[in-house]
Amino acid sequence: MDFLSTLISGLSLGSIYALIALGYTMVYGIAKMLNFAHGDIIMVAAFTVYVFATVLKLPAAATIPLAVLFCMLLGVTIERIAYKPLRKAPPLSVLITAIGVSYFLQNLALLIFGSNQKSFPKIINIPALKLGQLTIKGESIATLSVSIVIMLALTLFISRSKMGKAMRAVSEDKEAAELMGINVNQTISVTFAIGSALAVAAGVFYGATYNFIGPYTGSMPGIKAFVAAVFGGIGSIPGAMLGGILLGVIENLSKAYISTELSDAIVFAVLIIILYVKPTGLLGRKTNEKV
């Protein structure tokens, strides 16, 4: 029973990582950049929920859509201001800028909310599910079920919709896509908006699971989700989902059966081994550059 409940909470943690990893992998696939500020969007999302729910006392039904809207706008604005002018710059400049944006968001939160941790509002009120000896926390049920729905919807969106097809075309060959009349800037904006919306879901579930949020809340899950995206094969959407979920499960199992202190080290060691065996990640494709 212990194993089963560890596994379920691992799956739940893993789906949070997966939601964040999707943002990394989609932006990487389409804009060919590593958006290291993505983790901090989760923190902003959590604080936005805190402001709406705790400070302004809005109901959860209003809080979450408002937070989604706010973070989508934030994601698109960051892209426009910080990354778009660097579209033709070397990748290293964009990477450094992303790290700069990450520090900017963290310090802005520090300035506004101070360094004390805030308690995250209880907006998920689902009772724990008892199945014999097994207890599944309400947060885990919400996280797992909502994440599954979001990931299915995203998969459908990418494979079927016009915008999804445009996104795939841009990720395969930006110039050819442009020559077919696809507005690449618009496609990149939509990608950032979707990534940020997913980060809000991740921020809410993360806050609900750990109960406290601070200006640095986003950085560790952000890094782990990045690891998950690389683990699954960066640029691959199913890869980010698989990578995130595996990472969460491995982390929780090593916490339960090996050592809490070593769990992060184990997670990263597994990444190193996987990349040693399969450098493109689990579902990553080797890109054959055509000349």
């Binding site: 919709s161 915008m163 097809k165 445009a166 395969e172 050819a176 077919m180 009349g181």
Partner: protein, 281 residues
């Protein structure tokens, strides 16, 4: 054998020549004094070019002469340093690549650049989609109009594929198709954007003579069916001389000769550019 054209080329006031049938209509492409420098290097200079509405034109020249650079200029992938491009009378200067595509210019690539991991029909629909309604909201939110457009796009894509008898490939991944089929799909994808000018970059590369012959017929069929202008970059002289009505020869980024296939074949400058000077031979 690729059959020759029996078209009469007539001069315009600007000295350019267009097929007789196009002479009363404004040219679809009118390029004036176009040039581009990369750093200190002038890649293309003083490029003047007129295309009749339904003309099949050829752009030939030795390797490195700047032919593909001209295609990149015409599609705004490169911003010209000098000169103007009028596409159906509208200046393309300052327009984005996707805007120029929507204004009516499409191309294929020397090295095929299909979206390999997408199905053939989706490749074609990428071209179509951006033709019909580029409304962001309806494409994200899936309004009823969206589904109607989607159905229209499916039908139109199949119709275009049937032009090359490729309907059966619709659901295959583009990257899994044989080379010749990929070349045809690339042309279909370009046609899906409903261009006024279709640029073909070495369409006969890697083809055997009978495939090239079929290509020549297809190029004429595209022109006749869609009523568009086609510009070919090509090294296969049988194809160029057979199918092109007007030809421009590029060497070191400059046009060294323009004219009908017969004029080009006997032009001493062209012979020199391709084969070297008389005394060197």
């Amino acid at each position: 054998m690729i059959r020759n054209n029996d078209v009469k080329m007539v001069p315009l006031p600007s000295n350019a020549i267009v097929p007789e049938r196009d002479v009363d209509k404004p040219p679809v492409l009118s390029v004036h004094q176009l040039g581009i420098d990369f750093g200190g290097l002038t890649a293309v200079d003083n490029f003047n070019f007129i295309m009749g509405r339904t003309e099949i034109g050829g752009l030939i020249g030795p390797n490195g002469a700047g032919k593909t650079t001209v295609f990149n200029l015409l599609t705004n992938v490169y911003q010209p340093t000098r000169g103007t491009i009028l596409l159906d009378g509208v200046n393309t200067s300052g327009k984005s690549v996707s805007q120029v595509s929507r204004m009516g210019i499409a191309r294929t690539f020397q090295n095929i650049r299909l979206f390999d991991r997408m199905s053939v029909i989706d490749n074609v629909k990428i071209g179509l989609h951006n033709r019909y309604d580029s409304n962001l909201l309806s494409s994200v939110l899936h309004t009823p109009g969206y589904f109607r457009h989607e159905k229209q796009a499916d039908e139109k894509a199949m119709e275009l594929l049937s032009f090359f008898d490729m309907q059966d490939y619709a659901q295959h991944d583009a990257g899994s198709l044989p080379y010749g089929a990929q070349r045809r799909i690339e042309i279909v994808r370009a046609l899906a954007t409903e261009p006024k000018v279709l640029l073909l970059d070495e369409p006969a590369a890697g083809m055997n003579p009978s495939e090239t012959e079929e290509l020549a017929e297809n190029i004429r069929r595209i022109r006749d069916t869609f009523g568009i202008a086609i510009v070919l970059i090509e090294h296969d002289m049988n194809l160029v001389m057979g199918v092109c009505e007007g030809i421009a020869v590029l060497n070191y980024g400059r046009i060294i000769a323009k004219g009908t296939p017969d004029e080009i074949k006997s032009n001493p400058d062209v012979i020199e550019a391709y084969l070297g000077k008389q005394e060197d031979r």
